[in-house]
Each structure stands twice: as C-alpha cells, then as structure tokens.
Symmetry: C2
Subunit: 323 residues, 2 copies
C-alpha cells in the first residue's frame, strides 16, 4: 500500500475509482464477473491512478473525467499483468494465486483481452479523443517493450542502453501517460503537459529500476513471488548489468553462457553471488536515485500545494519501498 | 479465397487495405515486423473487410474512412486468431505454422496484444468516435463469447440456445460490426444501418455454423487443421447438438461422459460415428441455410447494384465453401 501522506489529498477520487472499476468490468458471464472481482480485490497499490490524480491537481483545481481516465489506465495495466502471468507461467502475484493458476492459460488470455477491451471502453467514456490517443499509443509501446525484451532483437542484452529502451516502453510509458491524462483532465498548458509527462517518465524509470533491484534483494515474503525471477527467465536487468561492468572476463563468460541457456541452472547461484559481490543492486539503486532526484526537480517547477507534497512523498516511496 | 464475383467491384479498396495493414503494423522491433508480415502474408479471405466494403456501397456512392475501418476490423480479427491459436495450442492455421508454433506462447500472446493495440490505432485514425464505440463493444463481445464457451458458465452445453448465444458474441458480432462500420462510412440512415447490422449478423451466424459443420465433414487438406478439432477440445457445436436431438438415451450418456472428460479419447471415434449416422452435419447445415435465406431477404430490401449482386454471391459462398 502507498503511505497515507501520498493518498490523503485524493481519497475521494480513489474511492470513486474503485466503484468505477467494479461497474466497468461487470459481465453477464458468471466466470468473468468472478474472475474480474478476484483480480480487482487483490488490488495493487493503484500507483498509476494516484499519479494521474495528483498530476491533474498540479495542473488545475477542477479536473474532469480523471476518474474514468484513471480506470482506463488501471485496467490496461491489470490486463498486461494477467497476460504477463500467463507468459511467465507465474503461480502467485501479491502473495495470492494468479488467474492462470486458478483458471488455466486459455481462460486467462481471454480474461486479459476482455479487460483490455474494458480499458478501451473507459477511455471512450471520457468522450475525449486525446485520451484514446494516449491509451492507444501507450498500449502499443508496452507490448512492444515486452517483445523487445523477450526477443533481445535489435538490442545487446548486456548493453544498458537496450535495458533503458525496454523499460521506457514497457513501464515508464504508462507512468508518462498517466501524468499526461492528468494534464488533459485539467486542460493544462503545453508547458505544464510537457513537464508532467517528463515527471511521469522519470517516476516510471525509478519505479522499474527499483522493481528490478527488489527482484534481487527483496524479501520473498514481502514480494509475493520467488526471488531472482528475472534471472531465472534470462531477463537481463540493471543489477546484473552493473555487476557486469565491474566483472572479470571470466565472470562475464559465465553470465553470457547462462543467458544463452547453454549452462546449468545451478550456475544461477554463482551469478547471484557475483551480483552481490560486485554490488550490482546498490549500483542500480544509485541510478534509480538519479531519476528520483530528477523527478523532484521537475516537481519543484510547480507551485507548492498539498498535491505537490504528496507527489514528493510518492517519488521517495518509489525508490524506498520494500515491495 | 473469395470468388471473383464477390471481390470484383471492390478490388481497389482491397488493394488499399493491404497497404494500410502493412503500414499500420510496422515496428522498429525486428521480430515484431517479421511476425506481423508473416501473419499478414498468410492471409485469410479478408471476408470481414469485403463485407464492410460492400455494405458501405449499398448505403452510398462515396464512402469515407472505410479502408481504415476495414483495417481495424481485420487487425482485431487477426489478434483474436493469434490468441486463439495460443489458447488452443494449435500448430497450423491455413496450412502453415502458427505464430506460437514458431515463436512460442510468450511472444505470441504479446504479438496478439500488439495487434489489438494496432486495431485501436486504426479505429482512431478514422477520427470518428462511433467507429471506436463499435470496435470497443465488439471486442468485449468477442472475448466474452469465447469465455462463455470455454467456461460453459450459465449455459447448458447441450442446449442450442447456449450455442447460439456463444456464436452471436464470438463471431456474428464482428460481421454485424463490419456492416455497421460500412454504414457509418456512408453516413447511412438509421433504417439502412439497422438492416445492414441485421444482414451482418445473419451472415455471421451462417458463417460460424458452416465453420462448425466443416470441422466435422471438411477435407483436412483444405481446412489446414486436423478434423473434429472442436470435439477434441470438448467444444459442443451445432452438428453434435443436432445429432443429440435424434439420439437414444444411451448415446446421450456416451456424449455427456465424453464432454465431462471422464471417458477415454477412443470414444471420440464413436461420437463421430454417431454424428454421421444421425445426420448432425446435414441438420446443422440446414440451419445455416436458414440464415442464408434470411440474409438474402434482407439484402433484397436494398436497390439492385453490382455491390448487391456481389453480396448475394458472398452469402451463398459462405454456406457452400469447402474451407
């Protein structure tokens, strides 16, 4: 959960959001209703809607359509999680069984599609074509980012630039979109909109890097999933990249072999040890803190207000959280 | 392929469509471009775009935005096929390997998501909010129809009403939407729009029933997939329902046991024999012909024209095709 200091100024919107979400996903197919309620009840932090609501308040006093936009963002995000869990064959998320663990892959893929269609419906209900454009663009970028990561196509898996390209698309784009939708809800000026998008982008980068660090160093009980999941799936994230920068030739060969899949799984432990010894997680967290500072700087270009203060708290939380 | 008599009056639009499709799915991730080109090259009949184009001509002389609407419909349809192949674990489609057979499930689910996002982009490019509403509604109905079929939730698998509910949502809805988008492109009157939607619905029902008949009696070489696939997946379609109506108590128990999964796969052959002996496929095809006649009747409420003639040919083709 997000700290109270972050959510206090927008409690009303957050309650409205929960109602809108439940209304939107309702279906006359009992299985669909049951599955949707289950997913929404095992709620995440709702961090993207929170970012959207706070940004809308930075840009104006009377945002309109922001709850519906936030519902579109959260449904889009949840749809991608449902599909992620299928493709990663994950059995738990947030400590409870995934949809695919309960209903199998066939039904889960379709439930993700249904939720994606519902995100589109929410975007339509704002009656603002710009909202639809934002949702359309971000949904393309997110799937493309995931595909780039999975295919390692056109990127060197051991080049930090490739890593950043992936996380800008698959994660930061939705945070940037959330801020932009907040700006749209308050009819912000072009300068405000640009700054808010940049704010969302930096928050998203800090968020994803911290996620990737937690995958290496997080407490399994708090994470709700097994540790070092990314490495097991041969996904290269920043802690490993940072460790590699400080590694010997021999160590690099070990990692390369593991990533190509031509080495045994027991070498996983050796690589985890390598990341520990070379301080990969700490070095990655330093980069997350760089984006944290950048986000705080952008934030300070807005007038002081309880909303600005709440966003400042959120930015710090993003890199300091334990799950 | 569709007969020349169907496509001749709209050849120009069909060529434009192919260009628009290729432009729309372009990506700077090489794998994505490659996979999209592969899917578009192993093209189906483009029957939904053809229906859309012909309907737009029934309603007016100078349709606008119809090529972009048709691209949205075809991309949405293709996205659902990609996900269907993943959830059904199908290895071939139209006689060539499926995306999941080549690139695996993880990548294929995301490629389907990417294509769905591209369908949304195409709908946006029409700059007509009604197009987006049609696409949003139909994408919900399609996934809900599939989920109803998979879950058998709230429907009796041996009740034809449940079967019709499923195929109205999962198939007929997209044909109805195609006709409605054709009507929108020509700014048709409400009466024309209603009749065109009804026309699409009946064509869609005839199309799906014929598909389900071909699954029982089609020539495997022409179908590009193994026969009796639906029964293998315990999906009840009209040929089986029709056979059941004429079966003994004992035969019904055999089928029920098989559907519950508590009988051996060798009983599949016994059920196929039962469907043959009881004339299930012929009886189902009779119902398809009923919708064929209904579609022809609706069509005759429009003025004679080469487009009306082409649609009449298409309606006959739908129930007389061999694959």
């Amino acid at each position: 959960m997000l700290p109270d200091a972050v959510t206090a100024p927008i409690r009303g919107e957050l309650e409205e959001l929960e109602q809108r979400l439940v209304e939107l996903v309702r279906s006359d197919v009992p299985l669909v209703s049951r599955a949707m309620e289950y997913v929404l009840a095992n709620r995440g932090k709702r961090i993207r809607p929170v970012v959207l609501f706070l940004c809308s308040r930075l840009a104006g006093d009377t945002p309109r359509g922001h709850v519906t936009s936030a519902a579109a963002v959260e449904l889009l995000h949840t749809a991608t999680l449902i599909h992620d869990d299928v493709v990663d064959n994950s059995q738990t998320r947030r400590g409870v069984p995934t949809l695919n663990a309960i209903w199998g892959n066939r039904i889960s893929v379709l439930l993700g599609d249904y939720m994606f269609a519902k995100a589109l419906q929410a975007a339509l209900e704002t009656r603002n074509p710009l909202v639809l454009e934002v949702i359309s663009e971000v949904s393309q970028r997110m799937s493309q980012g995931e595909l780039r990561q999975l295919s390692s196509d056109g990127i060197d898996p051991l080049d930090p630039e490739g890593y950043y390209r992936v996380i800008r698309d698959k994660t930061a784009s939705l945070f940037a979109a959330s801020c932009q939708l907040g700006a749209l809800a308050s009819a912000a000026s072009q300068s405000e909109t640009d700054r808010l998008r940049a704010l969302g982008e930096t928050i998203g980068l800090a968020f994803q890097i911290t996620d990737d660090v937690l995958d290496y160093v997080g407490h399994p009980g708090k994470m709700g999933k097994p540790p070092a999941q990314d490495l097991r799936e041969r996904k290269v994230t920043l802690p490993l990249l940072k460790a590699m920068e400080r590694s010997t030739q021999e160590e690099r060969q070990l990692v390369n072999g593991f990533l190509r899949g031509d080495s045994e799984d027991h070498q996983l432990e050796r690589i985890l040890e390598l990341v520990r010894v070379r301080g990969g997680a700490e070095a990655a967290l330093d980069e997350a803190r760089h984006f944290q500072r950048q986000a705080q700087e952008i934030l300070r270009t807005f007038e002081p207000s309880p909303y600005r203060q709440a966003l400042a708290e959120l930015i710090d939380f993003v890199v300091e959280r334990e799950n």
